[in-house]
């Protein structure tokens, strides 16, 4: 049996309870009579650290490391590492799942074959992409995926009520965790009552419960306990868990204060020996301590492991957490024969029969008053036994090697393709040609667009291809829905006109369907392509069945997907959602628990418009309200004010105009030229294109290049190349149509024209350079004009040499 455990911690190098557990598993396996071939996959590390960790575990386990996403020749990895993946808040959480997915592929290759078992953690949802890859039929078909319940951020949040800011980022993280816990083949818990807490929290079904394994992990104490003397009647009390709300250090501090109020002469100390990430929270804890007790209730943030152990050896240890999945610290403390006080209202303690009140621990009721009472008891009570750390045999030793389910061969031959979102006949023809060379070329294909555009109400059918006229002057989603249903096919490929499948899409869809007969929708992440220059930039991530993201954002799947028709019948396309009907459908499908698989790779390309919004308040409010009504909530969620995110990639694309573009410049105004010298000349010795304004006229040069639409802004770099003028004004004109003489005349007189953007005049002082940032925000493909004029009040146009050195357009 070949087993790989994923972790971001590894004792003794990377700190944390999970890291200790990983170490313990390794030691246990080394001693086992039936050991497995044990591997670990850790987060990316430097060469030096990799060597240290590998050397430490030499002979006991093989250590693999995730690659740095920036080093991978993979579109998603590159987009994530360059901050060019949308939605930015989902993308920030998706880096780890992708990193682990790539890392697992690498680990498989390094170990010459797939793993029988891969174990992921619940927290952070790192295993999501691995699960998605398995479900897509892409990889890991013969590997069982297990998810161990450490402590998901989701469940901690419940026990840290009122401590978390809402955000899409947070929602995405919780979604990824949920997918990991629900999507795994096996779920591993340490304590039955904690497993029950997770089932309750995630509202999980009996079916999920059937895949749960409960086993007590190995707990090893490598600290040399030495002689543990009796504490005496006035021991110190110690809190040494992380300073975080669900660990309830506040209860410890309040109990300490109450205790001292009751026993003012008590000589022992109450030590908070820990660390935390939230400075404000730590300050709030410190402020709970009255001034006069500051020498009795002490905080210590920096200490060595030896110092900590020395303190713990001489203390009653208090673990007041209201939630733990196991809490190695409590067990280690008991094994050190220290008196331990635990929260009775924590499922890992109060509901777990290994902890016996007044025998191996003292339990308090979860309140600080209760804790103060128990602290008094602890003065004279000593444990009569050590908590049982009897380890269960690891589940992987009992696991049978499982061959991947023999996938039924799915014929995609009878899955029709329906194209929509075709806006005119030019577009239709282009789609017809693209279809002929697409992976769908052999599928039955239907192109839907209004009959008013086609100038006919008759369907044109040729072979497998039909062009279907729809009613009105715009395709209604209702008509599309009815058309799909009447095809009487189990599945349909739905493709919007501005999205196209990559060559492997069809095969990938077939694989996903073979691996998941209950599939409702299949698609992938999308590469954004600029249709004008055929270059790609950025990736739009699809969030699939993630319910939080479906509630907040329209990122479920691109409009290029394979969809089960019965899902369309059940959910329906909502015409009230207007252009967002597809987004509404996918979001509702995700919220209804539809089986949506998003392959963790790019199989779709989109002719992307960077100002496309991913969401709208009205859409999200409507979806949330529907969901609330469906769940029977009393408050109407339509009143919740949600954020809207623009689908703009973080890094803008820069289009630079330099000599190459300036070479084509010609003077279009004034016309005819009243002077005997050229008003527009490329002068490379002066650094660019000279535009020479003259008295009574603005000078306008037209460039041959056309600028793509959606330019946000520009930087204009100019030089006034003479000391003998009184300054030159300059401006940039972008026009949807070619400017006629009449247009130029009106523009020169300062008139505003429709579909013409004229940046405000700016002045270049004589003999100087200037870089000017101007806002543009164009939504059309533009002809570019460069304008120059004399400043107001200036009459002399001698030596007016405004040199355009460069223009940087930001898209």
């Amino acid at each position: 049996m070949k087993v790989c455990l994923l972790s971001n911690e590894m004792y003794p190098f990377l700190p944390g309870g999970i890291g200790r557990l990983m170490y313990n598993f390794c030691m246990q396996n080394a001693e086992s009579e039936t050991p497995v071939d044990l591997h670990y996959l850790l987060t990316a590390a430097s060469e030096e650290d990799q060597t240290k960790i590998r050397d430490f575990y030499e002979g006991k386990a093989q250590i693999h490391f995730c690659p740095d996403l920036a080093d991978l020749d993979d579109e998603i990895a590159k987009a994530l590492s360059n901050e060019q993946a949308f939605h930015p808040e989902f993308a920030a959480n998706y880096k780890e799942p992708q990193s682990y997915y790539q890392g697992l592929l690498k680990a498989e290759a390094e170990s010459h074959g797939p793993f029988d078992l891969v174990e992921i953690a619940d927290m952070g949802g790192w295993g999501q992409a691995i699960i998605a890859a398995k479900k897509s039929g892409l990889a890991f078909q013969n590997t069982q995926i297990a998810c161990r319940l450490h402590s998901s951020i989701g469940i901690i949040t419940e026990f840290e009520r009122y401590s978390h800011h809402p955000s899409t980022w947070f929602s995405a993280k919780l979604d990824l965790e949920r997918e990991s816990i629900l999507g795994a083949d096996i779920v591993v818990g340490h304590v039955p009552s904690v497993v029950a807490e997770n089932a309750r929290h995630y509202n999980l079904s009996k079916k999920w419960a059937n895949k749960v394994v409960v086993e007590f992990p190995p707990i090893l104490l490598d600290t040399d306990v030495g002689d543990v003397s009796d504490l005496g009647p006035t021991p110190d009390f110690a809190f040494s868990s992380r300073l975080q709300p669900f660990k309830r250090p506040d209860i410890f501090i309040r109990a300490a204060v109450l205790f001292m109020e009751r026993h003012p002469d008590y000589p022992g100390l109450f030590r908070v020996m820990s660390y935390g990430w939230d400075e404000n929270y730590i300050i709030s804890l410190q402020s709970l301590v009255p001034l006069e007790l500051r020498s009795k209730i002490v905080f210590q943030y920096e200490y060595t492991a030896e110092e900590r152990n020395e303190v713990l050896k001489n203390s009653v240890i208090v673990v007041p957490s209201n939630y733990e999945s196991l809490c190695l610290f409590a067990y280690e403390s008991s094994m050190m024969k220290r008196p331990v006080i635990l929260a009775g209202d924590c499922a890992a303690f109060g509901d777990f029969d290994r902890w016996k009140d007044k025998e191996n621990c003292l339990l308090f009721d979860g309140s600080f008053i209760g804790l103060a009472d128990v602290m008094e008891t602890a003065l004279t009570w000593r444990p009569s036994s050590v908590v049982s750390t009897k380890t269960d045999q690891p589940y992987w030793e009992r696991l049978r090697r499982k061959n991947g389910r023999k996938a039924k061969v799915v014929s995609a031959a009878n899955i029709p393709v329906v194209y929509f979102g075709i806006h005119d006949r030019y577009h239709l023809n282009e789609k017809l040609v693209r279809h002929a060379v697409s992976p769908f070329a052999q599928q039955e294909a239907h192109f839907l667009l209004p009959g008013s555009i086609l100038n006919t109400r008759e369907t044109q059918k040729l072979g497998l291809t039909s062009i279907v006229p729809t009613s009105g002057n715009e395709l209604s989603c209702t008509e599309l829905e009815q058309f799909i249903i009447q095809l009487e096919s189990e599945y349909v490929f739905l493709a919007r006109g501005d999205h196209r499948p990559r060559a492997p899409f069809l095969e990938a869809a077939k694989k996903a369907l073979s691996a998941n007969p209950e599939l409702d929708m299949f698609s992938s992440h999308t590469l954004n392509v600029d249709p004008f220059v055929e270059t790609s930039y950025g990736v739009t991530l699809s969030t699939g069945k993630a319910p939080g993201m479906a509630m907040l954002e329209s990122t479920v799947a691109p409009p290029m997907a394979m969809i089960r028709v019965s899902a369309i019948e059940k959910i329906g396309f909502a015409p009230q959602a207007g252009d967002s009907w597809f987004a509404a459908f996918t979001r509702k499908l995700a919220l209804a628990g539809g089986e949506i698989i998003i392959s963790p790779q790019v199989l779709v390309e989109a002719e992307s418009r960077t100002n496309e919004r991913s969401n709208s308040k009205k859409l999200s409010a409507g979806i949330m309200d529907d969901e609330g009504i469906r769940m029977g909530l009393a408050p109407r969620l339509v009143g919740m004010d949600v954020r809207v995110t623009n689908k703009q990639v973080q890094n803008t694309r820069i289009i630079s105009y330099t000599d190459g573009e300036f070479a084509s410049a010609e003077c279009v105004w004034p016309s005819p030229n009243p002077r005997d010298f050229s008003l527009i000349v490329l002068q490379q010795d002066r650094g660019g294109l000279l535009t020479h304004p003259i008295r009574d006229h603005i000078t306008v040069a037209k460039l041959a290049s056309k600028l793509p639409p959606f330019i946000k802004s520009a930087h204009l770099h100019l030089r006034n190349a003479s000391a003998e003028n009184q300054g030159v004004d300059f401006g940039l004109i972008l026009s949807k149509n070619i400017l006629t003489w009449e247009d130029l005349d009106r523009v020169s007189k300062g008139e505003a024209l429709a579909n013409v953007i004229f940046t405000p005049w700016q002045t270049l002082l004589s003999m100087g350079d200037k870089t000017s940032a101007v806002a543009i925000n164009s939504d059309f493909e533009a002809h570019v004009y460069l304008a120059a004029r004399l400043p107001e009040g200036v009459d002399d146009d001698g030596h007016c040499w405004a040199i355009w050195k460069e223009i940087d357009f930001f898209q």
Binding site: E110, P504, Q601
Partner: protein, 243 residues
């Protein structure tokens, strides 16, 4: 240092030597000069080299022939469930089971093409021995990855010299070897992924494709146009058509 018994022959090897096999068959897969080159001057064998190899050399991992890949043979033995103990002889294992001792030699392909060419092979002779002795006469395909015509393009003297190309390939120092596969650029592979410690083509087939290493700088763009880069697709990409 591993302790070596005075006579290191296992029962399989003893059976070989005492069998009806003629010496010449045994010697085909054993090249005494090649073997001797692996030994230091002071350790040159006094008895017949093959006996020295069987008694001593094999236990030290020395190779009987340039095409003999011990690692590959051990892998096959493991896959076949053989319990590899101290006295296991890869050499005997190959001869007893008529296995291929090299990733670039496919017994199945060679056998199929011999049949198609109407060439009879004695059952007593293993395919590798037949190949080493007779290939020059029949020149039939023997590998999904070693392209003889391509190799001979870069070593035109081979055709006239009557040398077995696979034998020639493994005798040439690695850095000087010409490419034997049209789609595999050894120089690129070594510069990008590995060292000259192992033969780059063998390294790619054994484990490089599993790590998604590319066989040439154009493989990614050629593969990605209609498929994914997987170990299977990478091997298919360098596979030679032998029909």
């Amino acid at each position: 240092m591993k302790k070596v018994r005075a006579t290191g022959m296992n029962s399989g090897v003893k059976a070989l030597i005492s069998s009806a096999l003629a010496d010449s068959f045994l010697h085909t897969l054993f090249d005494s000069n090649f073997y001797a080159q692996q030994l230091p001057q002071f350790a040159q064998p006094s008895e017949r080299a093959i006996i020295h190899f069987l008694n001593v050399g094999e236990n030290f991992g020395l190779s009987p022939h340039p095409v003999f890949d011990r690692k590959y043979v051990l892998e096959q033995a493991k896959e076949n469930g053989v319990d590899i103990k101290d006295n296991f002889s890869p050499f005997a294992y190959v001869l007893q089971n008529d296995l291929s001792p090299n990733r670039l030699f496919s017994k199945e392909i060679y056998s199929r093409h011999l049949k198609n060419a109407g060439v009879e092979k004695s059952d007593k002779e293993t395919h590798i021995e037949h190949f080493l002795t007779n290939w020059v006469k029949y020149r039939v395909p023997f590998s999904p990855y070693f392209d003889v015509q391509f190799y001979e393009l870069n070593n035109p003297h081979l055709i006239m010299s009557g040398t077995n190309p696979l034998d020639h390939y493994f005798r040439v120092p690695r850095r000087e070897r010409a490419d034997a596969n049209p789609m595999f650029h050894a120089g690129y592979y070594v510069n990008t992924y590995s060292s000259w410690e192992n033969d780059p083509l063998v390294d790619f087939i054994a484990q490089g494709c599993g790590q998604l290493n590319l066989p040439n700088p154009y493989a990614a763009q050629e593969l990605l146009s209609d498929a994914f880069i997987t170990p299977e697709n990478l091997l298919k990409y360098i596979e030679i058509r032998n029909d």
